[in-house]
């Protein structure tokens, strides 16, 4: 079994008066793609935000590289080596593609520029629109930029929230290929509604329902379990 990189144990998160996460637990192991699945509003996005400290956990523990991070501020969590691609991509609309990547690059080292070159080979469109404002990119290009920005640092873990959302099938295919490539270099926790995509790139799954983890396991188990897919995802 591969080494555990990220571990969530009994995470509870409140947003205002609402108790959103009511017992999330899962583990992401080095080199794997762990997919969080569940219906709309189940708590998948909040789980990623809680890991990043954007909606801090009220209780429970989150350990990353064997260090408790649930009480840290967001920027410190990011600096421990976690890259984040939010659901809305979080592109800085008036900054160019180049500037969006430059803001993200914590240290302008030769390794960072090597990673930048690498993501530009993954997403050649970004090179083409290097001087174009982020706000003027297409939905697919924004997604690529958001992923490139998260990857340009030496992130040991990438949290990617619904990368296929609102994208044309051909673009989804490109994004999926890029995630498969990135997987060779880093560990990924992926939130995805598109089960076809999730099942192709995921190694493990965590099913979330009403803010609780209801099942975790190898992706193959879920693929072959029609009853579970039907019950929690409404498919199969």
């Amino acid at each position: 079994m591969m080494e555990s990189l990220l571990k969530l144990h009994n995470i509870q998160t409140h947003i205002g008066q609402f108790h959103i996460l009511q017992g999330i637990q899962f583990e992401a192991r080095v080199g794997e793609v762990s997919v969080l699945l569940g219906r709309n509003g189940a708590g998948k996005t909040t789980t990623l935000k809680t890991i990043m400290g954007l909606t801090p956990a009220s209780s429970g523990s989150i350990t990353f590289l064997n260090e408790e991070i649930s009480k840290k501020p967001t920027y410190e969590i990011a600096n421990t080596g976690i890259g984040y691609v939010p659901e809305d991509q979080g592109i800085f609309a008036q900054l160019t593609v180049e500037e969006n990547i430059k803001v993200a690059m914590r240290k302008e080292t030769s390794e960072a520029f090597e990673r930048q070159e690498y993501v530009l080979t993954l997403f050649p469109d970004l090179k083409k629109f290097w001087k174009k404002a982020g706000g003027n990119l297409s939905g697919g290009q924004k997604q690529m930029l958001a992923m490139a920005r998260a990857f340009v640092n030496d992130s040991k873990l990438l949290l990617i929230d619904e990368p296929s959302k609102g994208l044309a099938p051909i673009v989804v295919e490109k994004v999926m290929e890029a995630i498969m490539e990135m997987k060779k270099r880093t560990t990924i926790v992926l939130v995805e509604q598109n089960f076809f995509m999730a099942s192709r790139i995921g190694d493990t799954f965590t099913l979330i329902d009403d803010g609780r983890t209801v099942h975790t396991g190898a992706m193959n188990e879920l693929i072959s379990d029609d009853a579970m897919k039907h019950k929690y995802l409404g498919i199969g």
């Binding site: 967001t74 920027y75 809305d88 800085f92 609309a93 008036q94 500037e99 969006n100 803001v103 914590r106």
Partner: protein, 287 residues
């Protein structure tokens, strides 16, 4: 023609003083989402500490340095003690910063006395140049030059440096900036102190321009600063410069041609912008 040039120079000089106040205000609002109604207090404290230093040392430059230092120290204390507890709550921000504005204003009277203090232009900036029939007052040109230098330096920082990039990104999406590993609180503090220093420089430069300083001058000028921020677009540094020049020129021309409208012209400009472009002329787009 000579009249036109005089009015333009007068308008530009006033515009630059307003710009120095509004630039900090717009950055503080744009990045930190803080409505700082005590900004005028930094302007007046910059003026008083700078002028007193100028009187004691007889050096205008040292006076400006002390004004900047005062602005930065007050900015630091304000951000830590007054602003931090009310982040995200506009009503509380308005109440606490308005209250603090009054405290700053009254403290001026306690520390420096209640009477207006006359301030003379330093000898090397006094007098005027005569170009044909046009008389150009040196100190007004000095203010215009300083204003453009400040704009140039800050524009360069905002567009060509990493910290500037972070500030611009923060104006658009604070949450994402933090998720990229940047301590936004440090950036907030840096911006607040810088904005405070700009206001303090404005106060110090205003002093010889108006000929005297008094405790209420901060409040009077802060209103112009807010009008400029609204016209220029909240969060836009360049917008502030253009709006400040517009307000300065409009005031200068109106005061000469239609004096009874000169006090209302800024409000009229702001009303027009709010009707036709409520986001301001150059608002930095959020994400």
């Amino acid at each position: 023609m000579d009249l036109l040039i005089s009015l333009i120079i007068n308008g530009l000089a006033t515009g630059m003083l307003i710009f120095l106040l509004a630039a900090g205000l717009t950055l503080i609002f744009g990045l930190m989402d803080v409505l700082n109604f005590s900004h005028g207090g930094l302007f007046v404290w910059g003026a008083y500490t700078g002028v007193f230093t100028y009187i004691i040392t007889e050096s205008f430059i040292v006076g400006i340095m002390v004004a900047i230092l005062t602005g930065m120290v007050l900015g630091f204390l304000m951000e830590k003690l007054i602003i931090t507890p009310v982040y995200g709550n506009h009503v509380q921000q308005i109440l606490i910063t308005l209250g603090f504005m009054l405290v700053l204003q009254e403290m001026i009277k306690v520390v420096f006395g209640p009477n207006a203090i006359p301030v003379k232009v330093p000898d090397y900036l006094a007098g005027s140049w005569e170009m044909g029939e046009v008389i150009i007052i040196k100190y007004r040109i000095f203010i215009i030059v300083v204003g453009f230098i400040v704009f140039g330096v800050f524009h360069y920082i905002l567009t060509h440096t990493k910290i500037g990039l972070i500030v611009r990104a923060g104006v658009m999406n604070k949450e994402m900036v933090q998720a990229l590993g940047i301590n936004i609180k440090k950036v907030f503090l840096f911006v607040f102190m810088t904005g405070a220093a700009l206001a303090a420089i404005g106060g110090m430069l205003m002093a010889p321009y108006s000929g005297s300083i008094y405790a209420e001058m901060g409040m009077e000028f802060a209103i112009l600063g807010f009008i400029v921020v609204v016209i220029g677009g909240m969060g836009s540094f360049s917008g502030s410069l253009l709006a400040a020049i517009l307000v300065g020129l409009a005031g200068s021309f109106m005061a000469y041609y239609i004096p009874f409208l000169s006090l209302a012209v800024n409000m009229i400009l702001m009303a027009i912008v709010l009707i036709f472009r409520p986001q301001g002329l150059f608002r930095m787009a959020k994400e």
